[in-house]
Symmetry: none
Subunit: 280 residues, 2 copies
């Protein structure tokens, strides 16, 4: 017979590959099963790793990993890896055409090009992150992190666009054992009574600045509570009340901004606070 392969045909999609691995894994000998379980958990490494890398990571010999691939229906490691490299860069065959489209700007068809928008926001994110290093003063960041770590409760305030930042911080700080309270956009004054000595306020607001957030910060400041903040304009209204102020300016795409730099910065801040707290 011309097709001597007794084994089943090789998977042509990632979904098929996963199903195949799950199907054969239980009946596999020790080393081969190591390949299966590790590969299943680290599928994303396939595109960028050599067979030696994968084998070492799965704690098997390279030849064993090759046999694992072959047992799945591939001719070897390279063929299996190709499955992932294709998927990672879909336009590989159309390089020149695609590149021309990029140069020209808008794509020829009427579609608004979600693809291109994603690329634009990714590029915009790069720029925002690059600028982040220039706008942040490390002394302010240090002070905020240590105050957060020492605080009884960290009160987080932010509305509209800033609310996502605050939500992310609340999640992180909570996981790290720092007690937080997220102040809702409405009814701020009513909850003012909950502020007590030892608490701090972290206010987040971007232009155009939220009056509710600023109002809460001012009242807290007047009550003697330490207020820190994050904004996108170092000379904005938040600078007047915040003792330490972080600045994250976002690049924009056609007038829209993703809070990329702010998310990165605030995450770093929370991790730093968590590290300080567990340290002492």
């Amino acid at each position: 017979m011309t097709d001597e392969s007794a084994g089943p045909p090789g998977p042509v999609t990632v979904t098929e590959l996963i199903e195949r691995i799950d199907a054969v894994a239980p009946g596999l000998p020790k080393r081969l099963r190591q390949c299966a379980t590790f590969t299943r958990r680290h599928l994303h490494l396939l595109a960028v790793s050599t067979v030696a890398d994968m084998a070492r990571a799965a704690e098997v010999a390279p030849s064993v990993y090759i046999r694992f691939c072959q047992g799945l229906g591939f001719s070897g490691y390279s063929e299996m890896q190709a499955l992932f490299r294709e998927r990672y860069s879909e336009f590989r065959p159309d390089y020149s055409v695609r590149f021309a489209n990029l140069r020209e700007g808008a794509s020829p068809d009427a579609a608004p090009g979600v693809d291109r928008l994603i690329a634009d926001f990714a590029e915009s994110g790069h720029k925002s992150l690059l600028r982040l290093r220039n706008t942040v003063t490390s002394s302010a960041a240090d002070r905020i992190a240590s105050d957060m770590a020492a605080a009884r409760v960290v009160h987080l305030v932010g509305a509209r666009r800033a609310f996502a930042i605050v939500a992310n911080m609340a999640y992180l700080l909570d996981k790290m054992g720092v007690e937080t309270q997220v102040r809702p956009a409405a009814g701020l004054i009513a909850t003012q009574a909950a502020l007590r000595p030892g608490d701090i306020v972290f206010a987040v607001t971007f232009a155009p600045f939220s009056q509710e957030t600023l109002g809460f910060a001012r009242e807290a400041d007047a009550a003697g509570i330490v207020v820190h903040g994050l904004t996108d304009d170092e000379s904005g209204p938040l600078a007047e009340v915040a003792r330490a102020l972080l600045v994250a300016r976002e690049d924009e795409v056609a007038g829209f901004r993703a809070p990329t730099a702010a998310i990165a910065l605030s995450t770093a801040l929370c991790v730093a606070a968590g590290a300080l707290r567990t340290e002492t």
Copy 2:
């Protein structure tokens, strides 16, 4: 002199690489500048492409691309590529050692180096954004955007880490005239009745996956409502219910992740949906 290299030292982070390219590009001859502009636009291909691929895509000879790498301070293409492959292959440390990792690289004094953490998260953000362009399938993004634009109400579900993403989307979609409802983490079943024909559900969940979010998505799917989603594992449980699935995998810093790529992706998606809605 022992160190004969007149050129500057090679970049050791993606951030430095981007800055270096932008700095030298203007003064470069024709072919080398082609390398610069193409590389700058398609950084994400570096991890999965050979030098021949990159050269062909940039429409230069392989040797020219090598010289481009060397002009940047690398010994060759492989060294530059390693910059992008390194971080991918790191394993996830256990929770207990994450903070220990942080202190290890910190400055000698007791301070945990918030400054350094910010730089690390910025670098991590770059890598997440680079990978974003490899993991997103444009057909899925197109479909989600058009479904969102056409939907009566977009129901957003996300808990914990995913909640910040959902909050950002709610703000954006709302601003663009797309009606949204954010489903709270608790009491999901009670609100199930609010789902009506013409609505769609957008579910966001990252590993370890939220049972509440998955449960809501499953119920909506069973009720015949279109469910789309965003996650960080294309083979995760959300893949079973979502008709179109977006994937944003985040790079990590000592075990901690900022939702940088997810924020950029979801923002692009919302802007696309808004553009579609106002267009018609």
